[in-house]
C-alpha cells in the first residue's frame, strides 16, 4: 500500500544566534506555528521524526526534551541523522509512515542549536562530515576545504571565476534581506564578497554559510485527513535519495556531486519528469548552497544547466525571481542560515508557502505549473535528497 501525503501545516523559527531561547523553546516556535496552521491538536500527532545532528548542543536527547515541552509526548518518535540533509531525511521518514498506512498525521521537526559550542569545536565537528580518519585527522582538511577542492577543479576546468561564486552570495543575501526569518537579512555587493578573507582558497568568508540556530516543522497528513484539514494541501510528489563515498579521494571527479545527480534522476523518474526540460516543470527551487560553489554544482546536478555551464546561470541572473529558474528566494543556507537539522525542513516550509503564494511579495516566485524542488545535500555529497512538492495531487 502506498498513499498520497500532503503538507498541511508549516512552522519556521527566526534563524540566527538564538541565545535568547533554549533548545525546546526554539523548537516550539516552529512546532506551534505548524500545528496551528494545520488546525490540529498535539494529541492528533501519531508520529514524529526529529532531525537534529547535535554534538555541539546542551541536550543530548533534544528530540525527547522538545516533544515534552511541546506537549507531544506519547507520539511515536525517533531522531534521524543525514548530516546537513537530516531535515529532508526526517521528512522522508514521516512521509513513509503515512504513505505506508502506519499513521494519518505525522510531523517532521528539525532543530539545531549550533552556537552552544565554541566556533572551533563546531568547525572541527563539521569537518568530521567526511572520512575523519584519513582526510581530516591526517591532513587538517576542513569542511570548507572539501568544497574548495571542488571549486578549484571546477574553476580550472570550466573557466568560472571567484566573482561568479560571489554572485551567488550576492543573490542569496538579497533574498535574505526580504525574509524576516533569515539569519543575515543584509544585502552585500560583489566587491564586499571579493574583499572578504579567505577561509579555504578559493572560498572566502562570504562564500560560506554561517553557524546558525533555528527550527522548522511540518505537519504531514494522509490524503483522506488532508482533505478535511485544508483546501490547499502541498503534496509530496516524489523523493529521490542517494549517497556518496566517505573518502573524497574515491570520487570520480570534482566537477559534480554524483549523489545529488542520482537523487535528482530518481525523484524525476518517480514524477514522470526528465532532467532535459526540468526547468519548464518547476516554478521555484531551494538548493543546498552551504558554499557558493555548491549552488553552482547543484544547477548542473539538477539539470537546470548543462555540465560546465552552471556558472552562466548566475552570471546571467537566470536564478533570480523572474529568471529561467528562481533559486533560493529564501536567502538559502548562505544567508537565511544553515542550522543543520532544520535546513531540509526549512526548505519544505518556504517552498510550501511559495507554492501557496504567501511569502513576502518581493521574493514571491510566479507560480505557473505549481511545482517546487528542494535539493538538500549532507556533507560533501555524502547524502543527497531531492524532493518535489506540488499543488496537484500525484497520480498513483
Amino acid at each position: 500500500m502506498t498513499r498520497n501525503v500532503a503538507i498541511v501545516g508549516t512552522g519556521h523559527s527566526k534563524f540566527g544566534n538564538r541565545h535568547d531561547v533554549n533548545m525546546p523553546e526554539l523548537a516550539w516556535e516552529a512546532i506551534k506555528q505548524a500545528i496551528d496552521e494545520a488546525g490540529i491538536e498535539q494529541k492528533d500527532v501519531e508520529f514524529v521524526s526529529f532531525s537534529n545532528v547535535g554534538g555541539w548542543s546542551s541536550e543530548g536527547l533534544a528530540s525527547v526534551v522538545s516533544l515534552e515541552y511541546a506537549g507531544l509526548t506519547g507520539a511515536g518518535l525517533y531522531r534521524v541523522e543525514a548530516a546537513c540533509s537530516s531535515g529532508s531525511a526526517a521528512i522522508k521518514a514521516a512521509h513513509d509512515a503515512i504513505a505506508s498506512g502506519e499513521a494519518d498525521i505525522a510531523m517532521a521537526i528539525g532543530l539545531e542549536k549550533m552556537n552552544e559550542s565554541p566556533t572551533p569545536t563546531v568547525i572541527e565537528f563539521i569537518g568530521r562530515a567526511g572520512n575523519f580518519f584519513w582526510e581530516f585527522q591526517n591532513f587538517g582538511l576542513t569542511f570548507p576545504g572539501y568544497y574548495a577542492l571542488y571549486a578549484t577543479a571546477y574553476m580550472a576546468k570550466h573557466g568560472a571565476t571567484e566573482e561568479d561564486l560571489c554572485k551567488v552570495a550576492v543573490k542569496n543575501h538579497y533574498y535574505a534581506s526580504l525574509n524576516p526569518k533569515a539569519h543575515f537579512p543584509i544585502p552585500i555587493t560583489v566587491e564586499k564578497c571579493m574583499k572578504s578573507r579567505y577561509i579555504a582558497w578559493p572560498l572566502k568568508l562570504y562564500d560560506c554559510s554561517p553557524i546558525t540556530d533555528g527550527a522548522a516543522a511540518v505537519v504531514l497528513a494522509s490524503e483522506e485527513v488532508a482533505k478535511k484539514l485544508t483546501d490547499s494541501p502541498v503534496w509530496i510528489e516524489s523523493i529521490g535519495v542517494s549517497s556518496g563515498t566517505s573518502n573524497l579521494s574515491r570520487r570520480d571527479d570534482f566537477l559534480h556531486l554524483e549523489a545529488g545527480t542520482l537523487a535528482a534522476d530518481r525523484a524525476y523518474k518517480k514524477a514522470g519528469l526528465s532532467r532535459d526540460d526540468i526547468v519548464k516543470h518547476v516554478d521555484v527551487a531551494e538548493v543546498h548552497d552551504c558554499f557558493t560553489i555548491a549552488e553552482i554544482l547543484a544547477y548542473e546536478d539538477l539539470g537546470f544547466a548543462k555540465r560546465g555551464e552552471g556558472y552562466k546561470l548566475i552570471r546571467d541572473q537566470e536564478t533570480y525571481k523572474g529568471g529561467k529558474i528562481p533559486v533560493n528566494l529564501s536567502g538559502g543556507l548562505k544567508a537565511k542560515g544553515h542550522p543543520l537539522g532544520a535546513t531540509g525542513i526549512s526548505m519544505a516550509v518556504d517552498l510550501s508557502r511559495q507554492l501557496q503564494g504567501r511569502v513576502e511579495k518581493e521574493r514571491q516566485a510566479d507560480i505557473k505549473v505549481g511545482r517546487a524542488l528542494a535539493h538538500n545535500i549532507g556533507g560533501t555529497g555524502h547524502y543527497a535528497y531531492v524532493t518535489l512538492y506540488s499543488l496537484s495531487k500525484p497520480r498513483r
Binding site: 580518519f133 591526517n138 591532513f139 587538517g140 577561509i199 573524497l248
Partner: protein, 135 residues
C-alpha cells in the same frame, strides 16, 4: 569535549602514516586508498597491502586559512588531491610556495611532521607531497 583520538589508534596506523601503503584486490585487481580489509569496488576480502607510487600529479587543491587545532602553526595549509595513477590520495603539500602551485604539476611523497597532539604532546609524522624538482 575532546576531539583527540588516542595514541594507541595512531600507533596502530603508524605504518600507513609513514609509508604510502594502499590495498590491492586480488580478485578484481584494482588498487585503492586508504587501505581496508575489503575491496571497495567488488567487496572481495582477498586483498593485500601494496606500496603506492610515490610520484603523482596534482588534480586539485585548496589553501586553508582556518585549519583545525594542531595545524595552526602551519597556516596557510595547502591540501591537494593527487592522482597516483592507479588510485588517488588527499594529502598536504609541503616545500612549496603558493605561486608554484597549479593543477597538473608533478608531486612526490616525503615524510614530514603532520601535527602536534593537543593533550599528549605527541608529534605525528606522515606523508606529504612536494613538487618534483626539475627534469
Amino acid at each position: 569535549m575532546s576531539m583527540e583520538y588516542s595514541v594507541p589508534i595512531y600507533w596502530r596506523n603508524r605504518v600507513n602514516y609513514y609509508k604510502l601503503i594502499g590495498g590491492r584486490c586480488k580478485k578484481c585487481g584494482r588498487v585503492f586508498f586508504p587501505p581496508q580489509s575489503r575491496c571497495p569496488y567488488c567487496s572481495s576480502d582477498n586483498v593485500e597491502p601494496v606500496s603506492l607510487p610515490r610520484i603523482g600529479r596534482l588534480l586539485s587543491y585548496t589553501v586553508s586559512y582556518n585549519p583545525p587545532e594542531g595545524y595552526k602553526l602551519q597556516t596557510p595549509l595547502i591540501i591537494g588531491l593527487i592522482d597516483l595513477g592507479e588510485t588517488r590520495i588527499i594529502a598536504q603539500l609541503t616545500d612549496v610556495s603558493l605561486e608554484e602551485i597549479s593543477e597538473g604539476i608533478e608531486v612526490e611523497a616525503v615524510v614530514r611532521k603532520i601535527r602536534e597532539d593537543r593533550t599528549a604532546g605527541l608529534i605525528h609524522y606522515g606523508y606529504k607531497f612536494r613538487p618534483v624538482i626539475s627534469h
